[in-house]
Structure formats: structure tokens, C-alpha cells
């Protein structure tokens, strides 16, 4: 679906024409888990893994509070989290030192503000950067009037955020759709729930899961509608009964048989255009998440500690379900399951922001568009003409046939 072609040549031709390094980046909104691991191996050294995860949760909490104070929809939060995780696929994770002068470039909080800033814009909830900064800094109890680097803290921070925004745009490859133009997962679960005729409680359960899953890297692996459907399927299998919610709608409890009948009727691809392997990938990820992190999850706070029916802790229900789903067909990672293959993929390198200033980098969404035919034709024509005329002909025409050397 996405692919990268990259060729750098810096004046090795020996002709007088100036040539610049150039790069074409085809937006790749999703990665396999092997690819994620590979990317993280460059950006997050092993000894920092733990602090990355801890910091991520602090940051998410921080971002969540900003979004709440500014009264913006949850999808802004989802996009911010997506950007934040994407940023650390291509940039090394570093902790800001606690020295006198704050080092904004490395500070994950600044990264988070930049992500939030771009997410606000992308989700059409416009807010001045100044306002975002002031809310954020107040929350962290930072005095943004103190002088750093000969200017106020806020101004210094703003400068870095601007710069980071441009970096971030390159990280997302100017793909503002994030690979799909459907809504965020939290909206989707409610819509799908309604369409399938699922009762309030089960839908609430789905929504809580979506809230938990929002903070995981699953959004970098499969598109939102597949995540949403995976959540629905997990919930329908678990058939939650006791959920402590604030608004307990007094509708009659739905029978498990009814939920089963809904479950049986779901056709991933026909009804929701979700490829089954992707949904399966999501289901296993969600179950894995709860098996390992049940006690930290938000869902856990809304469920009684012990399931009334089985008399066991809630986590066992997830484990039991996982064992039933063991033989689901998931994504094949054959094309990216070892280091040497991954290493050949130029896309999975730390991104060099300087290319844009030396030469240029071109960003495209996909390679299916017809206009390439035009360009290809032109180059082939050019190659033939070259063959007749110039000495460089051989080199040029071979270049057209075999892209990279």
C-alpha cells in the first residue's frame, strides 16, 4: 500500500548542474508491530523503555486535562496521542534535564504541546497556541514569565513548538487523514453499537474500552473502524453485566442470547469494510492489554472486582476469552519479520530533517494516482532522447529500469 523510493545523489555525476538530495515519502499511516519494534530500537534505548512508558502516561494525563479544560471533543485527544507516539518512532526519546535552563527540544511535554497544537488544527477546533501554552503551563505549575535564554519562558517555548510543528508535519508525512477518513474510535463504537442494536450498558462498556485503547499504540497498527469493531466483538463476547456507571438507564437487561445473535450476524467486511485479519489483530491486542494491564485500566474502575457469575476476578474473563481466540488469523508479518529485511526499508530510519533544507522532500499520499504515468512517460521519453545525444545516456536509462542501487 505504501512504499518509499529514495535516492540521494549529490553531484556525483560530475556535471556542472547543481543537484540536491531528494526524497519521496509516501505516507504510511500504519505499521506492523515488528516495524514498530524496529523503529523503537533506534529511538528508545532499552534502558529508557520504562521511563518512556511512564512518561507517556503522565503526558497523556496532562494532555487529557488540557483537552478537558478547553472543552474539546475526545477525538482531539486521540489524534494528539497518535501524533505523540508517531513522533517517537522517528525521533529519539530523551528526558529533559532538570537543570536551570529548560531544554525544550528534548522535553516530552513540549512535544506533547506541539502534538496537541497540530491536533487542534487538524480536528478543526482552533485555539491560539498562547492559550494552549498557558493552560498547560499552569497545570504543570510552571511560571511562564521567568526569563530563559534571554526571553520569557513562554516565548522560548513557543519558538520551539513552532519548530516542532514543522518536524511533526514531516513525521506524519502531511497525511492529515491518518490513513482513513473515518471518525475517531470513541464515536465509532457508539455508532456501530446503535446500528447493531446493542443495549446501553454494553455500549458503555465498549466506550470505556475505546478510552483505554486510545492511549495504546494500536492506532499505529490498524485503522479506527477496525479498532472499533474489534472492541464491539470483544464486548459482545464478554457480555458485561455489572457496570457501575453514573447514569444507569433502567432498560431491561438484554439477554445473552440476544447479544450472541448480534455477534453471529456481524460480517466484518460486508457490513463495516473491515478486513477480518485487521479486526482479529485488534481483538488480540485488546485482550492482551487487559490481561497485562487490567489493574491500571480505566475500565477496571467501572467494574466490580469480582465477577458475580463466575466468582472470579474480572481478569479471568479476559484470559478465558483470549484462550478461545488463540487460533485467530492475524496479519502476516512475513515481509518484515527479521532485521535484515527491516533494515532495507529506508522508510524505517530516523528521519533527516535537513533533506528539506538541502534539497527537497516530496510527500504523497499514495502511488496509485494517474499523474505518475505522465511523469514516467516524460522521463522515458527523456531517457531515449538522452541515449541519442549525451554520454550519460546509459547511466540514465538504467536508472529508470532499476530504481535503487
Amino acid at each position: 500500500m505504501s512504499e518509499l523510493r529514495r535516492d540521494e545523489k549529490e553531484g556525483e555525476n560530475g556535471n556542472s548542474q547543481r543537484t540536491f538530495p531528494s526524497i519521496v515519502q509516501v505516507a504510511r499511516p500504519f505499521f506492523t508491530s515488528a516495524e514498530l519494534k524496529h523503529l523503537h530500537s533506534f529511538t528508545i534505548p532499552d534502558h529508557k523503555k520504562l521511563s518512556y512508558n511512564q512518561r507517556k502516561h503522565q503526558i497523556y494525563h496532562f494532555v487529557f486535562n488540557i483537552v478537558r479544560v478547553l472543552k474539546f471533543p475526545l477525538r482531539v485527544l486521540a489524534t494528539t496521542m497518535n501524533y505523540y507516539q508517531r513522533y517517537y518512532l522517528f525521533n529519539s526519546f530523551e528526558e529533559a534535564s532538570d537543570g536551570e535552563e529548560p531544554d525544550f527540544e528534548k522535553d516530552p511535554y513540549t512535544v506533547a504541546l506541539a502534538c496537541l497544537f497540530l491536533a487542534f488544527k487538524n480536528e478543526d477546533c482552533i485555539k491560539k497556541l498562547k492559550d494552549i501554552q498557558s493552560v498547560g503551563n499552569k497545570m504543570r505549575e510552571v511560571d511562564d514569565k521567568v526569563k530563559v535564554h534571554n526571553m520569557s519562558y513562554a516565548d522560548a517555548q513557543r519558538k520551539v513548538i513552532m519548530h516542532m510543528e514543522f518536524k511533526l508535519l514531516q513525521v506524519i508525512k502531511f497525511d492529515f487523514k491518518n490513513g482513513s477518513n473515518v471518525q475517531s474510535v470513541d464515536q465509532l463504537v457508539v455508532k456501530i453499537g446503535k446500528k447493531l442494536g446493542i443495549d446501553y450498558k454494553t455500549t458503555m462498556f465498549c466506550w470505556l474500552i475505546s478510552f483505554d485503547i486510545m492511549s495504546t499504540p494500536l492506532c499505529l497498527v490498524i485503522p479506527p473502524h477496525c479498532i472499533a469493531l474489534a472492541i464491539i466483538i470483544v464486548s459482545l463476547n464478554l457480555k458485561p453485566k455489572d457496570l457501575n456507571t453514573k447514569y444507569n438507564k433502567a432498560d431491561a437487561p438484554t439477554s445473552p442470547e440476544y447479544l450472541n445473535s448480534i455477534l453471529e450476524k456481524i460480517d466484518c467486511y460486508e457490513d463495516f469494510r473491515c478486513p477480518e485479519t485487521l479486526v482479529n489483530e485488534g481483538i488480540l491486542y485488546i485482550l492482551d492489554y487487559y490481561v497485562h494491564q487490567m489493574s491500571f485500566s480505566i475500565l477496571n474502575e467501572f467494574m466490580p472486582a469480582v465477577d458475580a457469575e463466575t466468582g472470579k476476578e474480572q481478569i479471568f474473563k479476559f484470559m478465558e476469552l483470549k484462550s478461545r481466540f488463540n487460533d485467530l488469523k492475524v496479519l502476516s508479518q512475513k515481509s518484515c519479520n527479521n532485521y535484515s529485511i527491516l533494515n532495507q526499508d529506508e522508510y524505517l530510519k530516523i528521519w533527516d530533517y535537513n533533506i528539506g533544507s538541502k534539497g527537497c522532500s516530496r510527500f504523497i499520499l499514495g502511488i496509485k494516482r494517474r499523474r505518475f504515468n505522465l511523469e514516467l512517460d516524460a522521463v522515458e521519453k527523456g531517457a531515449i532522447e538522452d541515449e541519442n545525444g549525451s554520454d550519460n545516456a546509459e547511466e540514465d536509462s538504467s536508472r529508470v529500469v532499476s530504481p535503487s542501487t
Binding site: T19, S357, A378
Partner: protein, 334 residues
Amino acid sequence: MTSTITNVQVANSTCSNYSKDRKVGEGTYAVVYLGKQLSTDRRTAIKEIKTGLFKDGLDMSALREVKYLQEMKHENVIELIDVFSASNSLNLVLEYLPCDLEMLIKEQSIIFKPSDIKSWILMTLRGVHHCHRNFILHRDLKPNNLLISPSGQLKLADFGLARSLGNPGEDLTSNVVTRWYRAPELLFGARHYTEAIDIWAVGIIFAELMLRTPYLPGKDDVDQLDVTFRALGTPTEQNWPNVSSLPLYNSLRVYPPPSRQELRNRFSAATEKALDLIIQMTQLDPNMRCASTEALLHDYFLEMPRATDPSELPQMPSKKKSEKNEPPQKKVKV
């Protein structure tokens, strides 16, 4: 930026291969150059966006333009050919479209035949329909944003105000669309609106094509209400249920709705079916206004004369063919 040529050669030629020849305009957030795709000799317009220079970073309208144009490819929507970054600026490569509908309307020497008008409206509606079926609102339709290619195709441009359809319960800003083309619900400050605002604008453009002068030229926002309702009647609870609950609906002068005969007199060149379509597109109540599909299927497009073939539509006289692409004077709306 002074360098003229970004000369790059990459295998398979999926490379940036554009020259920037001439500066044609400068706006608040972008400089527009006229250029060429070197490999194909195709003329392009390159919008160079100054990033990071402004207090709010990448401009919202640039972001919107990329976001929505990347998604759409249609004969009647401007094509975003490329996005590339060079020397720390962001460049959008757009189709080169030398002319716009406003220029044609103002050019006194050109006579519009009924079939020409039909052709332009048809192409506009096709473009709008494509946006709407992708759940995108254009929100700034006006003759000045309807660009015309050398082959006569009309294309919607300037997606700097576009956005996707709002979710229920989400507030949208009513301060969109250039004043003369603003639908009544926007004039009343509605916080939620739909595709109908674009249809209204098309209706007003249709009228402008027939009249050769702006149909509802309000001097300011208050005057716009007056001008609009003087022409089309003041909305009441009878013809637009719940209109009085909109924020800015108060102390209006009440004008009666125009009779069919009055409209006939105003648009003396319009056929009955053309008049029908205008009336449907300029219904005061957005729920009564027709959708782009209905408009495209309207009898007006079936009756004679047939819409002129784009290649035969009137063009600007060559001496005045100014090489203007997109007017860069963008309004930043929050």
C-alpha cells in the same frame, strides 16, 4: 526564495521537478509562483507557505487545503499535484489555472449564451457534488474561487475554509463564506449548518451569471440581511420553522416573498426551468433547499439548449489574459 530551479532527478522520476519562474502574488501566509513541472512541461502554480514565521505556526487554511485536496481528485476540483518541503518552507504544487469566473463576468466584451451559463453551473455543481459526497463543505464558493482551465473546465479552488461535515452537537463558526454569497442561516449566526450553505452560494452565483452583476451585494453584515430579504422575502416561522430561535434573528424589516412574476422580471433571460432551479437553490429554509444531487438532476439540464462543451466556452480575450492563479489574499477565520 530566490533560487529558480529545484533540479532533482530521482529514479522512476517520482521526484520533485519543478521550476519556479515568476512570482504572481503574495498573501498573508503564502507566496504564489508560476512554475513548470520540468519533466512534463506542465504548467503549475506553486504556493510556497512560510512555516514557523507566524505566531500560530502552519496556517489553518494551508492545512485545510492540503487535507482536503489530497483526498479529492475530480475534473471540477483543483488538483493538488504535490506537497514538498524545501529550504524549510512548505510548497504546494497546484494545477495552473489562468482564469476565474469573476474575470469573465466582469469582462464586458464577452456575451454569455444561455448554454454557456448552463455549462458553468453544471460544472460547479459537479464539483460541489463531489465535495459533498465526500462529506466536505467548501464554505467559500464565489465566482472568484471558480477557476477556469485553458481547456475551459471550471474547477473549485481555495479550500482554505473547507471542513468536514460537523458532528451533531458540535459548534461550527458561522463566520464563513464571503458576505455576498452567505446563506441566511449563516447571516443569522447558526452554529450548525450543512451542505445547504454551498448550494445557496451556487444559487447566487447562478443569478450573478445571468445578471452579470452581483445579485446580493450587501455593504456590511447588517445590510446583507436587508439586501437578501428584500430580494427573497423575510423568513418567518411559517416558511422556515424555528428560524426565530437563531442567535441573530431579531428586529427584521419584513419584506414579502417575491412573486414568481417579479422573479421573472428580474431574470428576464431565464427560462421557467432555470428559474425553478434558482428558486430551489435559494430557499431561505436550509431544509427546503435542494441538495447537489437534486440540482444536478433538475430538468433545467435536460431542456434545450444543451450545455456548451467546455472547450467552446468563452475565454478571456488574450491581451487581458493576466496570469493569475489563486488570489492569495486569504482571510483567516477563526
